[in-house]
């Protein structure tokens, strides 16, 4: 029996009030892609941070190639041969690629030599990248390449990847997997964190499943179905969102030739976006982050103004109107960023409920706030959407991501919108909460509303949407029915090859 590359033995870490890891043990062998599975809050991040030296476990030990290993800081972990690609990229927008790479190294060579090394590595591993480009101008896939190359330049034995595919197109995922398999063939190990089960089944050799900080299962993911893995992760039977077929109704939301300049220097301007959404229809809009999603949501919600006819609700032009007028007409929105955009972090749930619900729910009476009604509305959202919180007086910041997401989506749904637009409704939300949110969106469409779901999670869109369109560099492809759409076609749409696909069909 050979010694494993990294042996983790009984790691425990508690934070005030939470046990993040409890007696976690597993081994990572050489040349192995090892999956770490678990819902949000299962303790994956804490465990990985302990391996990378960002967190000190309270008890337990690790052995690296048979020798005791207890990194006190990331540079000690890097010196041992551990490298990490972060979920939220640890990159600096205003610096160029080479400078970003240099910041992740302990003894970087002069920038000119480093740039040459970056070119070599990016060619060897099929990850094209220009060292002189500003990171702020790169796509999510390219940003991830910067992180990976930064790691590879240090010749790591273990590469930790935290949810690497959540922002990539299917084609980019393919490139990434080819690189990861090449690394495995070189005898390097990879610790792969994800909750995308199909990927894990296709890529990983072993899997360790965490739930509430404890190891609840080990398996060979290639021998399991995605459903079995999901149930190991959640610990109960999964409820699949479902909805009967239906006929589309009248057009509720129409966008006509909407062109809009992005207010942000790193944003994407919208170009001639046109689409119509019918009553009872869920339109899924896919696309890699930064292709105009935020701008589209802002244009629909009224945060960005457009020519009057560019956006209309039930035939009424609202393009030039602000959010409150649109809300009165039944067009409600839930933006992506939960803290700071969808909800004010330091305000209570009651106050947050009031912020968008004031008009439709009549929470304001002749200029005065009706606190009783506002609290009642917040409580209704909490009850109906199973938001885990002590009560409506709690500030939004104190809620976990999934619970706050249920609250901000629920707040809009309970106002009975005619048209609901959501951006990344289940981003960073655990499987059970995500299923609940998806079901609520489908129920809403069932009740005759038009729903627009902007998301980077293709599985989600293909699961709940009736029709699909893709955003690419601010342009929206023509929508197509989801039924009969293949993953290849979706990939081409995401790449902006709408017309080419039509010509071939």
């Amino acid at each position: 029996m050979t010694t494993p590359l990294l042996a983790i033995d009984g790691i425990t870490k508690t934070y005030p009030g939470v046990v993040a890891n409890s007696d976690v043990s597993f081994d990572i062998g050489r040349g192995e892609i090892h999956a770490l599975l678990g819902e949000n809050g299962a303790g994956k991040s804490t465990l990985v941070k302990a391996i990378y030296g960002l967190v000190r476990p309270d008890s337990g030990a690790m052995r690296w190639q048979g020798r005791p290993y207890a990194p006190a800081a990331p540079h000690e972990a890097r010196a041992a041969g551990v490298a990490m690609v972060f979920q939220h990229f640890s990159l600096f927008d205003a610096l160029d690629v080479a400078e970003n790479v240099a910041l992740g190294m302990d003894n970087p060579p002069p920038l000119r030599r480093l740039a040459a090394q970056i070119r070599t590595v990016s060619r060897d591993y099929g990850l094209p990248l220009d060292p002189g480009q500003l990171v702020g101008d790169l796509s999510a896939g390219q940003r991830q390449r910067v992180e990976i190359i930064r790691c590879l330049l240090q010749d790591p034995q273990l590469l930790i990847m935290d949810e690497p595919t959540s922002v990539l197109t299917p084609q980019e995922v393919e490139i990434l997997f080819r690189t990861l398999r090449q690394l495995r063939a070189e005898g390097r190990s990879i610790l792969y964190i994800s909750h995308k089960l199909e990927e894990i089944r296709g890529l990983c050799d072993k899997a360790t499943v965490l739930r509430l900080g404890k190891v609840v299962g080990r398996c060979d993911p290639r021998q399991k179905t995605a459903r079995e893995l999901a149930e190991m992760m959640v610990g109960t039977k999964l409820h699949q969102p479902e909805r009967p077929a239906h006929a589309p109704g009248e057009v509720l939301l129409e966008v006509k030739a909407l062109s809009l300049r992005s207010p942000s220097p790193f944003g994407t301007s919208l170009k001639e976006v046109s689409v119509a959404v019918h009553a009872g229809e869920i339109l899924g809009i896919g696309g890699v982050a930064g292709n105009g999603q935020d701008e589209l949501l802002a244009a629909l919600s009224g945060e960005l103004r457009a020519p009057p006819g560019a956006v209309s609700v039930r035939g009424e032009s609202v393009g030039h109107m602000g959010p409150n007028v649109r809300r009165a007409l039944g067009l409600l929105c839930a933006p992506e960023e939960r803290l700071g955009h969808a909800a004010a972090p330091e305000m209570s749930l009651t106050e947050n409920a009031l912020l968008t619900g004031a008009w439709r729910q009549k929470l304001v009476n002749r200029g005065f706030i009706d606190w009783t009604r506002a609290r009642g509305f917040a409580e209704a959202v909490i009850r109906r959407f199973d938001v885990r919180t002590p009560g409506p007086h709690v500030v939004a910041r104190a809620l976990s991501g999934g619970n706050l997401q249920k609250f901000v989506i629920g707040r809009e749904i309970l106002q009975r919108p005619e048209v609901l637009v959501v951006n990344q409704p289940t981003w960073g939300v655990d499987a059970a909460a995500a299923a609940a949110i998806r079901q609520a969106l489908m129920d809403l469409a069932e009740g005759g509303a038009a729903v627009v779901v902007i998301s980077q999670d293709l599985d989600e869109l293909l699961e709940i949407a009736d029709s699909f369109a893709a955003l690419n560099a601010g342009r929206l492809t023509a929508k197509r029915p989801v039924r009969g759409l293949t993953l290849d076609q979706v990939g081409l749409m995401l790449g902006g090859a709408d017309e080419a696909g039509d010509a071939a069909a």
């Binding site: 934070y15 967190v55 990331p74 990159l91 600096f92 205003a94 610096l95 910041l103 992740g104 220097p265």
Partner: protein, 311 residues
């Protein structure tokens, strides 16, 4: 009658460099602080603290250079108060900076009570031989006190540090995205405290330049808004060291011109000229926040945001 002929452009240009030096020193320090992601509005307070400590030490030791050194230490010391509040105790940066200014103004008045009306030791002007004897260029460029050249060398040093050294890269990284810098294992708090201390030292030097060389005398509140101009200058320069020089000499020019026009009996109220640095800064801010120019003129990403290290 306006007598513009009484304004000598050579003297004006020479005076401009002297007038610009205090704000240049303070602004280059604040630039480093802001590049590290910290907004320290206490520049005025640190300047006046430097002005009084520098003045007191110079008078007591009869050595202006010891005075300047003490001013740098004084400015750095009081800036560490700000660092303690904002980096260790996580207080709000804007409020702490304003408090630092008010505290510095009061504290310096207390320290300077025995020094009103005293004259400090003189600081000699440098003589560059034939360079100083050049017509026009000589008096404008080569007949100043050493601090004028030190301030320019400091700008060059900061420019080189920020763009060409690893330390500078780390400092910019901390200011751009402190969470990412922390994740990579950099000590965000330590970098920021060092930057704050450097900013304090520069502001202190700027203040002492006023009290020891430019005026030279100690009066209460003698910085008279120079710290605010320095703050505006950092924004005006869009966080680029050489543009700070440009801005400082522009604003220095306005200050000198205003004095000369007053002497020449010009009819426009001088308040208009006194307002102009701020107006120009507001104008620059408007230009910066419109259109595509923003990408290249953007402020450090984490500027003014407090950093909480989480597990």
């Amino acid at each position: 009658m306006i007598d513009l002929s009484s304004i000598n452009p050579v003297v004006l240009a020479a005076a401009l460099m002297v007038a610009a030096t205090p704000i240049l020193l303070a602004a280059i320090g604040e630039l480093v602080v802001e590049k590290a992601g910290v907004l320290n509005l206490g520049v005025e307070g640190m300047m006046i603290t430097g002005a009084v400590t520098g003045f007191a030490v110079a008078v007591m030791t009869r050595d202006p250079y010891l005075g300047l050194l003490a001013a740098a230490f004084g400015g750095a010391a009081i800036s560490l108060l700000f660092a303690l509040l904002t980096q260790v105790m996580m207080a709000n940066q804007v409020a702490s900076g304003l408090a630092l200014t008010l505290f510095g103004l009061g504290f310096s008045a207390l320290l300077g009570q025995g020094f009103v009306g005293v004259s400090p030791p003189r600081t000699a002007k440098l003589d560059f031989g034939f360079l100083s004897d050049l017509p026009i260029l000589g008096p404008i460029l080569f007949r100043h006190d050493p601090m004028v050249y030190v301030s320019l060398a400091l700008v060059a040093g900061v420019w080189y540090f920020l763009n060409y050294t690893r330390g500078g890269r780390i400092l910019r990284a901390v200011g751009e995205n402190h969470e990412a810098a922390h994740a990579l294992g950099y000590r965000v708090r330590r970098v920021r405290i060092l930057a704050i201390a450097f900013g304090g030292a520069c502001a202190g030097l700027g203040g002492a330049y006023l009290s020891l060389i430019r005026v030279p005398q100690w009066t209460e509140g003698m910085t008279a808004g120079a710290g605010w101009i320095a703050l505006a200058l950092v924004v005006f320069s869009s966080w680029r060291p050489w543009r700070v020089v440009l801005g400082a000499y522009l604003f220095g020019g306005i200050i000198v011109l205003q004095l000369n026009l007053q002497a020449a009996g010009f009819r426009i109220p001088v308040e208009y000229l006194a307002m102009s640095p701020y107006l120009v800064t507001i104008l620059v801010l408007v230009i910066m926040s419109s259109g595509r120019a923003r990408k290249t003129l953007a402020a450090p990403g984490s500027l003014g945001r407090p950093f909480h290290a989480t597990g």
